[in-house]
Structure formats: C-alpha cells, structure tokens
C-alpha cells in the first residue's frame, strides 16, 4: 500500500521526465539542439514559483476545481491500472479526462480557451469510440479486468503479436498518441489558438496541470504496455514505455498538426477499420 504512494510520486517524476525526453527527441529529429531532458520538470517548478491569481472573467471556483479534478482522476486511474482493475473504469477515467479538458477551456472565459473547449468536444466524437474499440479485447480474452488480461498474456503470449488483437493495439496506440504533447491530433492546444484550453491557466494552476498530465502520460503508456505486451517488472515496464514513447516522438516530429476536421476524420477512419475487422473476425471465429 505504501508502494502505491511511491508509484504515484514515481509517476509524476517519470511522466515529466518522459515529456522532456519526448521534446528532446523531437528537437533532434528536426535537427535542433532542443532543451535538456529535465526541461519539463524545471518548467513545472518554474510555474509553481510564479505569482498566481484567478482571472477576473473566470468562473472562480471551477477554474481551480478543474485542476484538482484533473489530478484526482489520474491518481484513481493509476490505482486501477496497478491493481489490475477493470479496463472499463480506465475507459471511464479517459472520458472524465475529456470532460476536464472541456471544463478547463470553458471556465476561464477567454475566447481561446473557449475554442480549445469546443475543439475538445469535437475531438471527443472520435476519441471516445476509438477507446471503446479497445473493449473488443473482451472478445479475445473473455474478460475486461486488466489482471485477467495480463494472466491471459502470460499464458498465450503478448496480445501485440496476436493477429486478432492487433487492430485494438493500433486503436489504443492512436489514443495514447493523441494525448502526448505536440501530437498531430492535438487540436485542442494548437498554437493558432494560443494554447487552447490551457491558455488562461498560468502559474500554480499550470504547474498543477503539468503534474496531472505527467500522471496521465504515465498511466496511458503503462496501460498500453500492460494491455498489449503483458505485466512486466518495473524497470522493463519503464523501458518498454520509453520505446513506445520514442516511436510516438518520431510521429510527432515528422507530421504536421492536422486541422480539427482532418483529425476527427482520420481517427474515425481508424475506428471504422477496427469495427469492420472486429465484425469480420467475429463472423469467422
């Protein structure tokens, strides 16, 4: 039980470090020197030392509460993942994250935040079904508990190597990809709307958000590795997560930001692909 607390602190630390590595790799691919790998860590600390207040136009309570909720749901998500809880609850937490993204933008009253929030609603249209397709793992393993899925993998080998579960892995990969910074689907914090829904959250609030995002990245990457490769010892888990993240860094570095409708369309196409595959597999099996 104390280990969970340590895992939590580790998740914050590793998440921020991985964000930094992500930035560094992107910079190197684009032949820039890039910031040090500790940048995101220093970034968060810097924000936390700054003068902070609540904008006058904001919905005061919600402006603060949404940051707290953002961190809280991912603490819960980490617990569900570590104890091998239900994949459905993880899915729920992902959806609640969409809600907090929306709330972040709405609460400030800033037009940029509002645009970010509206784009978050648009992207929910494709991201939610995308995550739901992961539920098709149920067809393969016969259970939605993460502990059962890892037990299945221990017996039958990683799901990533099985042809049946591959489309689900792709769907989950796109989901994780669309949640790391600088990704092609990141329309809600695109630079043409300043920082989207994060625009007005500065100082301490931003530092809190970065903390939450760090746990989120850790949970999503760890969930991907656990679901499709299997339960690994901690050091191996961290290495596997790093490898997954590095592949994402390449994609982020080499692809431009998509326009909102293109992002939704591409994700919807992947959903269509997975659904058709699942239906065909269901008919054949």
């Amino acid at each position: 039980m104390i280990s969970f607390l340590l895992y939590l602190l580790l998740a914050v630390f590793i998440g921020l470090l991985y964000h930094g590595i992500h930035r560094k790799v992107i910079a190197r691919i684009q032949t820039r020197p890039g910031p040090p790998v500790w940048q995101e860590f220093l970034h968060t600390l810097k924000f936390s030392f700054k003068q902070t207040w609540i904008p006058m136009t904001a919905s005061q309570l919600m402006f603060v509460a949404i940051v707290v909720i953002m961190i809280a749901i991912w603490v819960g998500g980490l617990y569900v993942l570590l104890t091998g809880g239900s994949l459905l609850i993880l899915f729920a937490i992902f959806l609640l994250h969409k809600i907090t993204e929306h709330g972040l933008g709405l609460s400030s009253g800033s037009p940029y935040g509002k645009f970010g929030a509206i784009r978050s609603v648009i992207s929910a249209a494709s991201e939610i079904p995308l995550f739901a397709t992961v539920g098709a793992i149920y067809m393969v393993t016969g259970s939605l508990m993460i502990s059962d899925i890892t037990a299945y993998e221990a017996a039958n080998g990683p799901l990533l190597l099985s042809v049946i579960a591959l489309p689900m892995a792709i769907a989950m990969y796109v989901i994780v990809l669309s949640k790391v910074p600088y990704n092609p689907f990141g329309i809600i914090e695109a630079k043409e709307i300043v920082s989207g829904n994060k625009t007005e959250h500065f100082g301490v609030w931003r530092a809190g958000l970065e903390t939450g995002f760090a746990i989120k990245t850790f949970v999503l990457l760890a969930a991907f590795v656990t679901l499709f490769i299997g339960a690994l010892p901690l050091w191996l888990l961290l290495i596997a997560m790093l490898i997954v993240l590095l592949t994402m860094s390449f994609i982020c570095a080499l692809t431009p930001m998509l326009s909102p409708y293109d992002a939704v369309t591409i994700q919807a196409l992947i959903i269509g692909f997975v659904v058709v595959y699942v239906v065909i597999a269901g008919v054949i099996l």
Partner: protein, 222 residues
C-alpha cells in the same frame, strides 16, 4: 435476490437502494460515475458563471458578457436537474428507468442552453433537440424489445448469462443514448457549448458522457 451477475465486468456490488421494483445500486464502476456526476453538480451549484470575453476582430476592443440573473438561475436549475438525472441514470438497475432518465438528460441539455439569447446557439439547440426527440425511439424501442424477449426489465436479471438479449436491442440502445446525449452531429453540439455559463454548459458534456459510459457497461454485461 440481489446476486451480482457478472463480477468480472464491474466488480462487486457495494450497496443498493430499492425503490419498489426499481433498484439503484453501486458497483465500483457506477460509484466512480456517480461521484463524478455529484462533483460536477456541486460545482454547478456553487460556482458563478464565467464572464465570457468577446474580441471585436479588426481592432483592440474586447468586452465581457455578463449573464443576466434570470438566465443564470434558469441555467443553474436545469444543470442541477440534469445532474440529478445523471446521478440516477448511472446507478439505476432498471433498463426502462435508464432510458427515461437518458431522455430526461436530453431535455435538460436543451433546457440549459434554451435561455441563451443567441441565434446560433438556439438554432443548434433546436437541431440537437430534434435529434434528441428522434433518439427516444431507438431508446424506448430497445427497452420494449428487451422486455418482450426476456420478460423482464431488471438489469440484475438481464445480466445473468441465462438471459440472452437480441443484438438489435443492444444496437438500438446504443444508438438511442448516442442520439439523446451525444448528438451524432457533434459539431452542432460544439456550437451549443459556445454559449456562456461555464459550469452549466459543462454539465451537458458531463451528463451525456456519463450516460454513454453507463450504456457501454450495460451492453457489454448483457
């Protein structure tokens, strides 16, 4: 009587509240959803709406929109009833009750934005409302077909492996919830969320996503 059908989906039942033949119950999954709905309802009650900033393009001018007291009260009332419907919807153990509460969420969602004096918002709220109304057909249709084929409306009974539910009923149920809450023309809904009044407008998103989460659990368990 209250034996949990399929513990691998949502975990053990923690508590239940029977109201006659409609039983509300908490499993870890529904408890998470319930607490979330409760949190956001509390936020809607406690926090003041934001003052939306509008920029007049082509110049430096910007102004903030004040929400009139009357409109704020109405939106808050609607948001609270939407939150209550959501809280009941995610914990109910009766399929017809679930569909009714989903329909109520749809009505409340329209209500939250109906008092906004903005042509675009109202136009889109109307489009959304038409879809929500049509959405009641697959919703209630699914419940009726489930009743006709299984002879019961209780989720406790339906979740048992012995009872099989036709695929068409499952499909209709999902379509119904999507039509009612999530509005297939998501973009119209995005237009709605542009309305000022942050904690109340957010409730539209909260309620429809939570209902969707619940229906995912229901169709997987059936």
């Amino acid at each position: 009587m209250y034996n949990l059908p399929s513990p691998q989906i949502e975990g053990e039942i923690l508590a239940y509240i029977p109201f006659g033949d409609i039983v509300y119950y908490f499993s870890p999954y529904t408890l998470v959803l319930f607490i979330f709905a409760l949190t956001f309802t509390a936020l809607a009650i406690l926090s003041r709406p934001e003052k939306q900033v509008d920029i007049a393009f082509g110049g430096d001018a910007y102004y903030t929109k004040e929400i009139p007291e009357k409109q704020m009260r109405f939106q808050r009332f609607m948001a609270i009833s939407c939150g209550l419907a959501t809280m009941a919807g995610v914990t109910t153990g009766d399929i017809f009750n679930f569909t009714l509460l989903t329909a109520m969420v749809g009505i409340c969602n329209i209500g939250i934005v109906a008092s906004v004096k903005n042509k675009h918002v109202l136009d889109n709220a109307y489009e959304y409302g038409i879809l929500a109304m049509i959405g009641t057909l697959p919703l209630f249709g699914a419940a009726a077909i489930i009743l006709a084929t299984t002879g019961t409306l209780s989720l406790w009974e339906i979740f048992t492996p012995a009872v099989s539910v036709p695929v068409i009923a499952k499909a209709l149920l999902v379509i119904g919830v999507i039509g009612e809450g999530m509005a297939p023309v998501y973009v119209a809904k995005a237009e709605i969320t542009r309305a000022p009044g942050a904690p109340y407008v957010l409730m539209i998103h909260v309620s429809s996503l939570l209902m969707f989460l619940r229906v995912v659990e229901i169709i997987i368990s059936m």
